[in-house]
Symmetry: C2
Subunit: 359 residues, 2 copies
Amino acid sequence: MVAERLLSDWVAAEVQLAPEIVPLLRRRYAILRALAVAAPVGRRALAERLSVPERPLRADLEVLRQQGILSVSAAGMSLTEGGKRAYLGLQPLVEQLLGLDVLAQQVRISFGLPMVQVVSGDADLDPFVIEEMGQSAAGLLVSWLRDPQAVLVVTGGTTVAAVGRALTARGERFPHLRVLPGRGGLGERVELQASTIAAQIATAAGASYRMLHVPDPISPQLYEELQRDPLIADTLAQITTGTLLLHGIGDARTMAERRGLSAEQVRSLLASGAQGEAFGFYLDANGRIVRETPALGVRLEQLPRFQHILAVAGGSAKVAPVLAVLRFYHRMQLAPTLVTDEACARGLIHIAKEEQPWQ
Amino acid sequence: MVAERLLSDWVAAEVQLAPEIVPLLRRRYAILRALAVAAPVGRRALAERLSVPERPLRADLEVLRQQGILSVSAAGMSLTEGGKRAYLGLQPLVEQLLGLDVLAQQVRISFGLPMVQVVSGDADLDPFVIEEMGQSAAGLLVSWLRDPQAVLVVTGGTTVAAVGRALTARGERFPHLRVLPGRGGLGERVELQASTIAAQIATAAGASYRMLHVPDPISPQLYEELQRDPLIADTLAQITTGTLLLHGIGDARTMAERRGLSAEQVRSLLASGAQGEAFGFYLDANGRIVRETPALGVRLEQLPRFQHILAVAGGSAKVAPVLAVLRFYHRMQLAPTLVTDEACARGLIHIAKEEQPWQ
DNA sequence: CCATGCGGGTCAAAAATTGTCCCAAATGGA
DNA sequence: TCCATTTGGGACAATTTTTGACCCGCATGG
């Protein structure tokens, strides 16, 4: 605690004296993160993924190379051992330098949440930011997963998938754990399915799991029929015993299209004010439910039963969806933990300052 | 201790990731130091004293102004309250960032000294560096001055005068202390005389002092005569009871000229290899005494009696003189504490690496 | 009161950065 | 084994930024 306090003082003085180090460290740290995740990677590919012009990136890479932080080969660039150490050791410093801790506290207070974590960057510009959100969320999750009663319910999506990868990478085992998908199958990509992620997490953690072999937008006829299937019914029953909920937050239009809604249906959905989506509910800017997807899985009335709800989403395009979900939870008198990125957090703060958070 | 350790780790990682902050912080810190000492000061005067081109300085000043670190008026620029706080709080960070602690350790080990302190900058280029050396030396001194038995012997010179100013500024009082000049009058400038500095320190500390009203280069006839003077004899006797010695280190040529030696005498002195001077002794590169100034004051055989000897000198031009003095002490089997600046310390290390420190 | 030194403005020259090529070599999937 | 692809590094003109060298009106302090 003392050390942290001192660090923040030093950082504050340093930033005051030399504010130009902030964008500098931001860039360099993003490069390290990218290399830590995707090495070996080439200069052009890196520029593409970081949404940065190639030549400036080259200048940065040159400095890092001379510092012995990265090694180059014909296959691309990788972090050296020292570079990995620097990357890992730098996280608290970068958080301080970029003011991420302050940002997280602002979001936490503004929206009345129990805990908020903010990672550096913008997931829309730099795909590696999603991985870092995943690691951050995984860190929170494992502390909850130690509970022998823990039953984890997960949804699908790219961000939740990143949490799964991060949990797998940690290699910690929770044999008593049970992992369940909170939704059925949605879209085509198998690695983003709730069932797939549940299975991945459970396998890595040495835990048990169930899959939910139902389509996500479900027709009324199938609804009754599938509920009578004993295996499905059992899985649904187990979901009601969940203690931890991990879910992503979607953009209304994207999710509607992924669920195969017609252009007309999408138009009507958006006309009704839908901004965000979470586990099947489309929410407007005030957090009101605009439309509920007919599907099997975690249900509205179950939400209060979870001990912890962890929402993960980032990128500047997710500001409105996240805002919708946070207001939805506020209406429900629930308080989820939020893991997001810098761009999204700044957007949330910007809006919170302009208007009353709860209208 | 923990905090320091962590700080150094963070700093190491930060410097690795963004080495360009080192010259940046070096410049900005020098500006803060100058403003802390000499405010209010104008842009051109500042550029002159810092030996920096005006336009780049202006760019730095612009940043610092926008950061609210300095305030401008028609009389010049000054530090704001926040700027003063940043300046004071930044010292340990700057020491780490510029590697001054490492440098000090290298000098300490290379020359077998008990303690070495290094301040940032080059006294030859930036006159404020002398003030910082003074503050550093004053910090060491006060810890020794708490000893009720303390008797402090000081020499003259610009650097020792800066120590006197710094001690005065601290405002701590040592009523039991006795301060004595280690040399007679030398040159014309009263504020650089050993007696003047002794009186200044003693007055500020509420201590007692004596003056030594004798010329420094003294003729053989006067030598006997003045020693018979009861007041002078008593002062000389008191000097033999000294427990702490504070002295500067001079360049041989400069000191010889200041003592009024003829051009011929100076030439012969330099031809005999004289590099440095300390309390009257001219020393060659190996630390051998080349010539002893006939004078009254602290004598060679007294040196081992001091509990602490503190040598203060800086600037790249003082490398050879300091080296000569350090080797002299090594021959005497004495180990002084050294306060110097970055430029001088790097010069010492450079030489120590090339040759064996003791031949 | 007035001369000195103050901050700030201006602008051409110089330096650094950036955009956009190219290339030989190594890679890795077929 | 081969060959399409991607790698890092070189080169260089276009562009932006920084630097040097002025000038000006004005507050300040002797």
